[in-house]
């Protein structure tokens, strides 16, 4: 079976939809005038989502001196963007059904996504880039894989089995066997769910950050993804570190000492976040 981006767009309508409040949060990424109190009230209606979000907000990664006990407080203490990203992280990790594609290890997928998100956030802080946007882009960079797993479970299972048998490149195997790869699927989803333009660019170009116009966020996610693999945080025996763009590496301009700090901070935040999100 060969798919085209057109098939994909049509099939996206059958995807599980995110909770309505998360869709609103996604739409508000670049919005300055979002109604915070209304959003806080809507999130508060979902008890499980609120509980997870508050545990994340009170984790040491955010260093709150006073514990946030409501979404409104979290927004006041951490800011709207940071809180929104924690709500999204809490909602996304529980949103896609697992188990329909036996070769797909969804725990490893989310561990890698969370590791990439944590590393992107740490890198962003070192580079004075928006940490919350970096976190979200890192978390969502591989979301196209979930589209393929959810929408075409049997076919994607065959891709994963072939890849495991021959240790081939995942994107190349997807293109050969399905006609599209998970980057294309992620971009289609970004359009379907109306992600912000910044996020869209990062999802489209994190694999080729040296592409003109790719944007600095793509560079951050590219390197954060490589670091997440190199630190072995997915917990996947067959994991492999992808290509590392020398252009992206140079653009970050960090010393070895700074990198070792980045590794340590990434691992600390990762342990705490996975304990909350993948409990």
């Amino acid at each position: 079976m060969m798919l085209t981006p057109g098939d994909l767009t049509r099939d996206l309508d059958d995807l599980p939809s995110l909770p309505a409040v998360v869709m609103e949060l996604l739409g508000s990424v670049d919005q300055e005038d979002a109604d915070l109190s209304l959003l806080a009230k809507k999130v508060a209606l979902d008890g499980a989502l609120t509980a997870k979000t508050l545990r994340l907000a009170n984790s040491s990664a955010y260093g709150l001196q006073v514990k946030a006990t409501t979404i409104g407080q979290a927004m006041a203490y951490l800011g709207f963007e940071a809180t929104r990203n924690l709500i999204m992280a809490a909602a996304m990790t529980g949103c896609f059904p697992s188990g329909r594609c036996p070769s797909f290890d969804d725990k490893a997928f989310w561990r890698l996504s969370i590791a990439t998100a944590c590393c992107a956030r740490v890198l962003a802080r070192h580079l004075h880039f928006n940490q919350d946007v970096a976190f979200t882009a890192g978390l969502l960079h591989g979301i196209g894989q979930l589209v393929l797993v959810t929408r075409y479970p049997e076919q994607y299972d065959a891709v994963l089995r072939e890849r495991a048998r021959l240790d081939t490149d995942l994107l190349a195997t997807e293109r050969t066997m399905l006609g599209i790869d998970h980057v294309t699927a992620g971009v289609a989803l970004a359009e379907h769910w109306e992600f912000s333009a910044t996020l869209h660019q990062a999802l489209a170009f994190y694999g080729q950050p040296e592409t003109p116009g790719a944007g600095f966020l793509a560079t951050i996610v590219h390197v954060a993804n490589a670091v997440a693999h190199a630190l072995d945080l997915a917990g996947d025996a067959h994991d492999v570190v992808p290509a590392v763009s020398s252009v992206a590496w140079t653009a970050l301009g960090l010393s070895e000492e700074a990198w070792l700090h980045v590794f340590r901070e990434t691992e600390l935040q990762f342990e705490e976040m996975t304990a909350i999100l993948l409990a």
Partner: protein, 109 residues
């Protein structure tokens, strides 16, 4: 007291230590529960309750990382990165830094 506990003078207690037993004051009232994590404030208050020694959990001795195992795992993870490929210097640098990190090597600032 078993091997995983150690009695520490309050003057040498530091934040982050974990109580291995509940702590009673001179009247037998529980001051702190077993498992409580000491903080600056708690340590200061112990002095006020005339407590000299605190039982804390012994921290597991730090084991040196196994260099052979670390390198073997990195060989697997970095199997698409040839060490002699000059065009892949960024990938090889990442590998070297992760190796230094895992083996806890000292790095010049």
């Amino acid at each position: 007291m078993s091997d995983d506990h150690v009695l520490v003078p309050v003057t040498r207690a530091v934040p982050g230590m974990v109580l291995s037993d509940e702590l009673l004051d001179s009247h037998g009232v529980v001051l702190l529960a077993k498992g409580a994590v000491l903080s600056e404030a708690i340590i200061a208050s112990l002095g006020r309750h005339h407590i000299d020694m605190v039982p804390v959990a012994r921290v597991e001795a730090h084991r040196a990382p196994d260099a052979t195992a670390v390198q073997a795992r990195l060989d697997v993870l970095f199997r698409r990165h040839a060490r002699d490929d000059d065009n892949d210097w960024a990938g090889n640098l990442l590998r070297r830094y992760v190796e230094d990190y895992r083996l806890e090597r000292q790095v010049a600032p």
